[in-house]
Symmetry: C2
Subunit: 381 residues, 2 copies
Amino acid sequence: MECHDYGLTRNTERKNLNLNPLQRGGVLTTEARKALYEFSDGYSVCDYCAGRLDEISKPPIHGFLDDLAQFINTDHARTVHGAREGKFAVMHALCKPGDTIVVDGNAHYTTHVAAERCDLNMVEVPNSGHPDYRIDPEGYKKVLDDLADQGEDVSLVLLTHVDGNYGNLTDAQAVAKCAHNTGVPLLLNCAYSMGRMPIDAKALNADFVVGSGHKSMAASGPIGVLGLKDEWADIVLRKSGMHAVKELEMLGCTSRGAPVATLMASLPFVAERVKHWDEEVQKTRQFVDKMEKIEGVEQIGVKPKEHDLVRFETPVFDKIAEKHPRRGFFLYEELKKRHIVGIKRGQTKWFKCSVYGFTEEQRDYIADSFVEIVDKYGELI
Amino acid sequence: MECHDYGLTRNTERKNLNLNPLQRGGVLTTEARKALYEFSDGYSVCDYCAGRLDEISKPPIHGFLDDLAQFINTDHARTVHGAREGKFAVMHALCKPGDTIVVDGNAHYTTHVAAERCDLNMVEVPNSGHPDYRIDPEGYKKVLDDLADQGEDVSLVLLTHVDGNYGNLTDAQAVAKCAHNTGVPLLLNCAYSMGRMPIDAKALNADFVVGSGHKSMAASGPIGVLGLKDEWADIVLRKSGMHAVKELEMLGCTSRGAPVATLMASLPFVAERVKHWDEEVQKTRQFVDKMEKIEGVEQIGVKPKEHDLVRFETPVFDKIAEKHPRRGFFLYEELKKRHIVGIKRGQTKWFKCSVYGFTEEQRDYIADSFVEIVDKYGELI
């Protein structure tokens, strides 16, 4: 058979400044690249398996999971294939088809599909709408009280710690309090927070936390993290009746390959970088300040920023696009000339971006580039 | 925090002749190593995603999945995280808790845990016992007839195409016939066959096939393949009610990272290598002949071999171990001196091995090494 020509290169994204928030936290460390080289083949981490991935001692996945549990302060930690697979595992273990769960109005689509896959009924805590799209922890109280009044049992409360549309950080501790007041456990989706900012699951009082290695922990995808309180281990880490050591929700073993080696290699670096989160937030705020100096650019979501993911509404670029011979493509093309990528081709009304991990010089170069592009087409506005 | 020292090297397994059957089919091609380099960062394959992994055109995952479907001759193909995740997806989509499925007595443990995770009732078609452990397709007929007599509905029939204990190849077409005669679909677990030998799902009349990239398709784990007949697409590839393009059993997207790039890069090579499967079988048979010339070494499982995974009973090594100062470790250590690894430390009563992908010279060197070790300790026998 003849295969298509796959042209497997990624030069554009690797060699330019990539503003895509999805890609900022997953850039590998040098150590992770070395680990990838070592563990690239097939089932590479399974050479010395005695029956369970999380107990392998060479490479020391067992010790690594202890470190990981310490890093996020949970009783148990497992690697899963990603945050979504972690959410599904918790929902599948805890809930029966038809059960009701409460989720935030900024939840990632994968929260919805995980719940749908489990045939759950979702009740949403709405956000505050344009322009903040804020999730108020009090909203959880109201929704939970209403459901209690209706005699409706709730099996799980889910909060998106930092959402992927506006980069809003929500007070998890306050939501945990609402959930626990009605006797319901909290699952905290930390895909955009774990590995970027410090996560202390016990301080936040989250029963479950999920994180994403490829999104925020300098690891090759697909890999995620599931952390849980000991009181839920019997349910979520329930073992097979036929194969005594195998955990059912993990299907025995999860990350049987290179990604777990990259997550391990990066953990010491990631544990260090979260200590500098305030500097990243500062860097982002200064970026927003510079961008908002452009007339027709406004940051959407809670202000001031508490996370690097920024959403801008950009009518100025949309206005230029109306008259520009390249229409909506001009912005992508002008940025690319300046070695900046990660804003979708054709998008000019609004965009999401992040300067996480860039130097201050790079950040200023990026902001200046946007200013320059507006200046260049001043006569079209 | 202080992380453990992970010592992330794999020199021993990479630089020696590795006989572990689990590792023989997952060794990367040069092209896959290059792809790994390109797509190592985080969510690398998602730069140009318009909402669904399997429709991404850069890298051309969409075209690749068409090639993959052609390669195994199925109507639809998806990548999943591994064969087990593919089995779980099919069971979860097709069956309700409490449903009955029929599986072979040589099924991999992941078949059991996937079924347990779905809360299914498993009825086993037994193997023939020592020394062949053969699965007779007629056994399926008997079990299915018995269940029908008891008025028990069966939701799914599963067959392990080549099992991981004895490397027995079972006649899938005959099992498909039994299943379809009672109106039940067949799921064929091809973890040890797809990518090693030619798989034509339509010729085998399998409704579903699952394969393993890290086990048999020269890819970095975790990645697997799920192929299915069009008539099951509405159920197994059912879409979200909230997010129109997202497939629920895939949780939207599966292989969001480097492994899918390696599977793509290796496919042209894998498509070529399966054409030479008869040479691999021949190589294995000659290996078994040489090994069985040693008194106290006997191949277990169906004879002659129809697959590279070989299980030997080796009382001769066990006898040496009884008197050897290093006891059971002697075999591992003697092999390692000869740059041969992949037999578990301490194992001497029996072992599994494979010479898949080795040259004839390497195969002979391996067999000769076993002979040499027996000769060396002749006085201990």
